[in-house]
Amino acid sequence: MIELLSYDFMVRALVAALLVGLAAPAVGTFIVQRRLALLGDGIGHVALTGVALGFLTGTAPVLTAVVVAVLGAVAIELVRARGRTTGDVALALLFYGGIAGGVLLIGLAPGGSNATLTSYLFGSISSVTTEDIWVIALLAAFVLGVVAAFGRQLFVLCQDEEVAKVSGLPVRFLSLLIAVTAALTVVIAMRVVGLLLVSALMVVPVATGQQLTRGFAATMLAAMAIGVAATVGGLTTAFYAGVSPGAAIVLIALGGFTVALGVGRFVRRGRAREVTP
C-alpha cells in the first residue's frame, strides 16, 4: 500500500476512486428506490455523445459530457413525468441515441476515431490529472451536499410521488434535482470505471447493502462503505495484478454482492424468527 502511494498518478487515482465510491451509491440508493436502476446507464450512453462533442469542438470532453448528460437526464425525467411512455422505454430511446450520436460525432472530429472513445467507455483512472481531481471533488461535494440537504424530501418523493405532492413538496424540482445529480455522478464516475460500467457503482453497492440492512439510511451508509471498498480495492488490485481498474472495481462489487446474498439469507432467517414468535 505504501508503494502504491509513492506514485503521484496512483494518489490521484485513489482520491478519485474514494470520491466516486462515496457519491455514486448515495445517489444510487434513491434511484434504486425509485425503480430507475438503469437511469445511470441511460445517462452514461448520452454522456458519450457529450464526450464526442467535446472532441469535435475542441472543448474539454468532461465539460461537454456534463452539459449533455444533464440535458439527457432532464429529458428522461420530463418524458417519465409527462408522457404515458414508461421510464424504461424512455431510457431505451436514450441508450440508442446516445451511442449513435457519440460514434457519429467522433467520426467527424479531426483525428477522432472510435478508439478515442474507448478510454471513456471503459475508464482511464490512471490518467486522471490534478485538474480532473478538482472537477471530481467539486461535483462529488455537490452530489453529497444534495443528498444531505434534500435527503428526507427525496425519500418521500421516491417512496410515493403523490404523498410527496400532498406533503407540499416541490415534486417537479426534486425530480429534476435527482436526475441532474445522477447525471453529475455519471460524469464523475466516467473517468474511474467508464461510461459502460458507471451504473454498476450506483446499483450494485445498494443491492449489496439492502441484503444486510433493515432501513433506508442504513442501506445508504452500507452502500457508501461498500462503494468505497470496491473502488479502492479494485484500483489496488488492478495496480498489482495489471488488470483494467474499471473491470476490477465492478467485479469486486459483484463479488461483494454474492457474499452479501449468502450472509443476508442468514440475517433474514434470524430476523423472521424474531418477528414471528
Binding site: 405532492k165 400532498v166 439492502q210 418477528v275
Partner: protein
Amino acid sequence: MTRSAPAAGAADPPRPAAAPPAFAMTGGQVALDGRPVLRGVDLHVAAGEVVAVLGANGSGKSTLIRALLGLVPLAAGTTELYGLPPARFRDWWRIGYVPQRLSIGGGVPATVREVVASGRVARRRRLGRDRAADRAAVARALDAVDLGARAGDPVGLLSGGQQQRVLIARALAGEPETFVMDEPTAGVDAGSQRHLAGTLETLVGQGRTVLLVAHELGPMAPLITRVVELRDGLVARDGAPDGAPGCHPHPGHEQGRPHAYGVAGGPLTPEDRG
C-alpha cells in the same frame, strides 16, 4: 361561499362562520383517458365532519378524493382546500393523506420508523435536525397504531393490515387537521379494523376532520357523521348515515336533522359494497 350540497353536518360545526370549509368542490368534472369519471360533483366538507364516500368500484370514489387534493386536474368546475385552489394552497401540513397502499420503493428497505417519520416532512425545515417535537410526534403516532414495538423492522415484513397502520401513522405524525383516507380498511382483517376504528375515534374526539373512501364501514360506522354515495360519477346520496339509502329518495330531507340516529353499523346495500 354558497353551499350547493346538502350537508348533514351543516348546522353544527362549532367553528366561526368565516372559516372556509376543508374541502369545497363545485361542479367538479374529471376525465381520465377521455372517459368521464366525475360528471359534476358538489361536495363541501366543513371542519370537524367525518365523511365517508361510498360507492361501487368505478363510481369515482378514489378519483374524487384525488381531485379534492389536486392530484388529478379538473376538466370543469372548481375545488378548494381551505378556501384556496390546490395549486395555490400552501399549508399542506393541515392535510394528512393516507393512500390506498404502501408502495414499497424498488427493494430498498425502510424501517417502520423511517416511513412514519417521513410524515413530518411538511412540518420540517429542510436542514432542520430531528427536534424533540418530531421525535415525540413520531412516537405518539407509532403508539396510536400499536406499532411501537415494530419501529425498527422493515415495512416490507409487515402484513397488509400492519402496513395500512404504518400509512395511518405516517399521516398522524404530521399532526394534520384533516385526514384523507383512501380505503383504509381494504384488505385489513377484522382485528385491525377495530383497531383502526379506535384510532379514528380518538381523532374525531379531538375535532379533526376526516374524509374517507370505503367499501364497507365495518366498525368505523358509528363514527361517521355523513355519508356521500357516488354512482357513475355523480353524488347519488349525501346525508346522515342511516344505513338505508332507499328510505330517502330526496337527500335534501336530511338537512338539519341530527345525525345521531341509526348509525350502529346497519348493513350496507349491495350497491355500497360494489
